[in-house]
Amino acid sequence: MKYLKFILAGVLFGIIMAKGEIISWYRIYEMFRFESFHMYGIIGSAVVLGILMVQIIKRTQLKDIQGSSITFNPKDKSIIRYLVGGTIFGLGWALAGACPGPMFVLVGYGYLSLLIVIGGALLGTFLYGLLKSRLPH
């Protein structure tokens, strides 16, 4: 039963992705052409509220449901991995029109060709694992 709440949070996430049209290839294309505020409004409002939320969690030292502290892990300091990795991600995001969340929501929506994209994403993840030690980080 401890996993039920995560499934329910996932259901909420899936519905938001679908009803907010975030799973639409067209919305991603439109965003990268700067022709609509829609996606910027979504990411922007989520981040503004997220910043407030993280500050409140940190200042009130809010505990999670098990009573443990909610902690945030600072990311490793680097430029190259974020810039190069991010750019490669962006190329794929704009081509497939889906990032790792929407890929799965779209499968549930009935777009089974996304299973091929997910297969590609797993292959890409595996390749990174193989090449990790040889890449600049």
């Binding site: 996932g10 009803k19 290839w25 981040v47 509220l49 974020y82 990032c99 890929m103 997910i118 993840t125």
Partner: protein, 185 residues
């Protein structure tokens, strides 16, 4: 009920995403979807090839359950919450895609030219889908996160690395949209 069936505006969807992030933190997890791809590689036996997949993936089970929920959420949206409305795209976006040979732009979530039956059974089509996925998977692991982990979670925690990653997302996205997609299609 009608309001739920309509497409949700940004000021509903954005704050709702922040709520999902809060729920995941409160439940003892965090908001990062691409980590699941690594977990799936580990379950599939990736640890036999590289230490990157040698970790206690059972601790990530909650995140896999979140994925299961996301798939169910997509199913619910398609079958009970859809009203078949076209996506309200900018007319310039529609014209640009029509010029590239796309038809029925915005009438469903995805273009049939990329995701339809004819496309996925052609060599070019399958290369586009696998290649797009491959770059998403490789890039998100190299950058240490995707849209949820960097653009939402990382920026919310004012992480400079996440800002650099998001700049990268846009460099790649702009190159693909403006330079490569006109060549590919």
């Amino acid at each position: 009920m009608d309001l739920i069936l309509e497409p949700w505006p940004w000021y509903v969807a954005g704050p709702a995403i922040a709520l999902v992030m809060f729920l995941l933190l409160y439940f003892g997890g965090n908001f990062g979807m691409s980590a699941n791809l690594r977990t799936m590689c580990a379950i599939a036996g990736g640890d036999k090839y590289t230490d990157f997949f040698k970790f206690d993936w059972k601790k990530q089970k909650w995140n896999l359950m979140f994925v299961v929920g996301a798939i169910i959420g997509g199913f619910i949206s398609a079958n009970f919450l859809a009203n078949g409305q076209a996506i309200d795209l900018n007319p310039n976006t529609i014209t640009a895609l029509e010029d590239l040979g796309f038809q029925e732009v915005g009438e469903s979530y995805l273009p049939g030219e990329i995701f339809g039956r004819e496309a996925i059974f052609s060599l070019k089509g399958i290369l586009i889908l696998i290649g797009g996925g491959l770059m998403v998977g490789f890039g998100s692991r190299y950058a240490g996160g995707c849209t949820s982990g960097h653009a939402i979670s990382g920026l919310s925690d004012l992480q400079i690395p996440s800002l650099i990653a998001v700049i990268g997302f846009f460099i790649g996205g702009l190159i693909m949209t403006h330079l490569l997609i006109p060549i590919i299609f």
